[in-house]
Amino acid sequence: MTPVLQARDVSMVFGGLAALKNVSLDLDEGKIVGLIGPNGAGKTTFFNCLTGLYTPTTGQVLLKGDPLPGDPAAVTDAGVARTFQNIRLFPSMTVLENVLLGRHVRMKQGPLSSLFHGPAFRRGEAAARDRARELLAFVGLGKVEDELSRNLPYGDQRRLEIARALATDPAVLLLDEPTAGMNPQETEAARQLIFRIRDTGVSVVVIEHDTKFIFTLCDRVSVLVQGELLVEGTPDEVRGDPRVVEAYLGKPPEEVEAELQAVQEGEQS
């Protein structure tokens, strides 16, 4: 079975800086893949390559076997939706309008139909509203659809962003740090939500700092360090890998001490 989303040897160079070096990733249908790594490892850059915001310098991204179009709007149309690390809702649109905007790409009314508001327009609009309300209920925001999105509490804004992304009927959902700033209860709710999204047949890629969250959520985990793929495997494989421990926690204390000693000896001699 071909993976839904496949990155093949993706490299990204900004000027002289290589942000990504030959990163590959396979996302199978109905799976959750986690992407972890320290700050500056290139996780978000990689995400931007997957959503068409950046075109990889070399390598390619395939969606259901076809190369990804070069334009973010077209990528969304093709079935990849995302959320943002720093929540980016349309702050002064209502909750419902935010989700309706996500529905934009699946609605077909052109300028003339929008101008005259004919029967077909009304049907399409009503259908979009129904779907949007359904999604709001799905993420647990059914009661606040007329609230302005900027007035929602933080956790609800995160969920609204997910609802907006789901409104584009994606095959793949990319979540950029969905639990950043959340307390344990909210994090648990987010985990359950992601499972439920997976159960509807959407494949998910999650970037997260919280390794515990990733290891209990994902089917497979990739670790990026300094633009390179360090390890890829099941959560158990990755958790036990000494290179991951080193990348995340630094070297074990005894090794650091040994190195320090070596340096001091070097200075003395």
Partner: protein, 570 residues
Amino acid sequence: MKTAMARPLSAIGSVVLIIGALLPWATFVLNDGPYPDKATLEFFDAPFGLSSFRLYLEILGLAGIVFTFVPVRDKIRVLKSIGWGAAGISVVNLLFIAGDGGGLGAITAADGVPAFGSIVAVVGSAVLLFGAYQLPPEPLTVIDSKLPWWAEWLILLAAFVALLFLITETLTAGGHSGVSDPYIGPLFLSYLSAVGALLGVLHAFGVTEWISDMSERHRVFSIVVLVLCAVAVPFTSVGNDYWMTITANIGVYAATAIGLNIVVGLAGLLDLGYVAFMGIGAFVAANLSGAVAAEFHIQLPFIVAAIASGIVAGVFGAVVGSPTLRVRGDYLAIVTLAFGEIFVRVSQNNIGGLTGGSNAIPNIPDLSLFGAQFNDAPTIGGLQLPGGVLYYFLIVLLVALVMFVFGNLKNSRIGRAWIAIREDEDVARAMGVKTGKLKILAFMTGATLAGLAGAVFAHKLATASYDSFQFNQSVTLLAAVILGGMGTIPGAVLGAALLFVLPEELRQFKDYRLLFFGLALVVIMRFRPQGLIADRHRRAELADEDTTGESLDDTAIKEPVAVAAKEAGA
């Protein structure tokens, strides 16, 4: 402790205000002017003379006393509105009498005649205001009740008729027919202050928002009633040639402002050369009108010429809009500014021979319908209508059409996408909005509407001249949109009306009128950045600055009536 002083102060202020209104206001007698019987400052001594400004002050003073002691919601806003209205009236008349009456003597005492009325009134309103500001701030009242549809229709009908009355009264407050009345300026400003106070009080009670939400719910009905009200205007006190011309001009600019509102208010693209599209429409219509100076000697029916104007302007809109794919924000403003200047230079120098250069294209034939010339004064069923009334009706039709386009597009997939682009273009693109196409579409739609307005404008004026489409017109239109309230139809109409009526009414102040005008803009923008009639979205965006910043849920004081009505309905 502070609040303890509030009531006594505002009560005392109100009483002083009433006393001030009853005292004589001027000592001097003015000897010149076109109306000998009125051309005297004794006019300001008559208790409730033609000016009525003292009547306004009496009413405001009484209202001040009543609302000080009767428990009302949001007392601070109510008293503030009353205080500012009274202060406006007092100061305007004080300055006018002092200015025209020869200085301080005119408002204090001279030749044994004391006249301290204006000063007392100013002091009274100041004390009232001071008292009002001691009150604790309250969240804005929100009336959340929904009535049966017929009741809401009746309320809307009443509101619009009241609005019509208010508007015609505003227009004629300084006298009729544009004949130079020496008191036109202060009379008009006094009236405006009083109306401002009234609207302020209604706003504090949540009535204005309630009605505007209601009209949102019954959009089609509201538009029909508004159009009917507009059609009724020629049959009211402003039904004369002078006001027909002024209101027709307002209409043309209002239509153009609504078009600009699509570009600026919805899509958030700053366009500083917008009036050029109106110019393009005007020149296209002029050239197809059969005017002697036109390049093409053909006379197309007006409706065809108008559509052609719209299409040509729309094409130019798309061309000018295309840089928006690459250029954002300030840089886009410069691109559009440059386009506006190019248009002015090209038409001034008659490059291409289509604009008549500095001679313009004069003598554009009057429109006619079933043999009736549009500039004539028709008689319908023995009722003599003012001249130019047919143009007025045509322009009402134009404004209605533009409103229809704006309203329908705003509430559609495309309008939502425009607003999303305004809020966060990158995210809009990431959500699948084809931002490039949509931005060009915004420019095209706005330009087409401006082109249509331009075609009507050319026939109304009978001339198409580059001079009518200069940069300052673009800026005035932009000011109309921002002042009125971005993204709303009534906002654009009100903005255009204010910007084109105020200079007319302020002629009294001669060279100072633009100064006053500019000051008024600064004041409005300082105290109401979201515009006079704000969009629901933008209202929220900027509301933080004048409320205490609580979330909507906390600030909304639900009407008990509303809750009861909901329960009854459920």
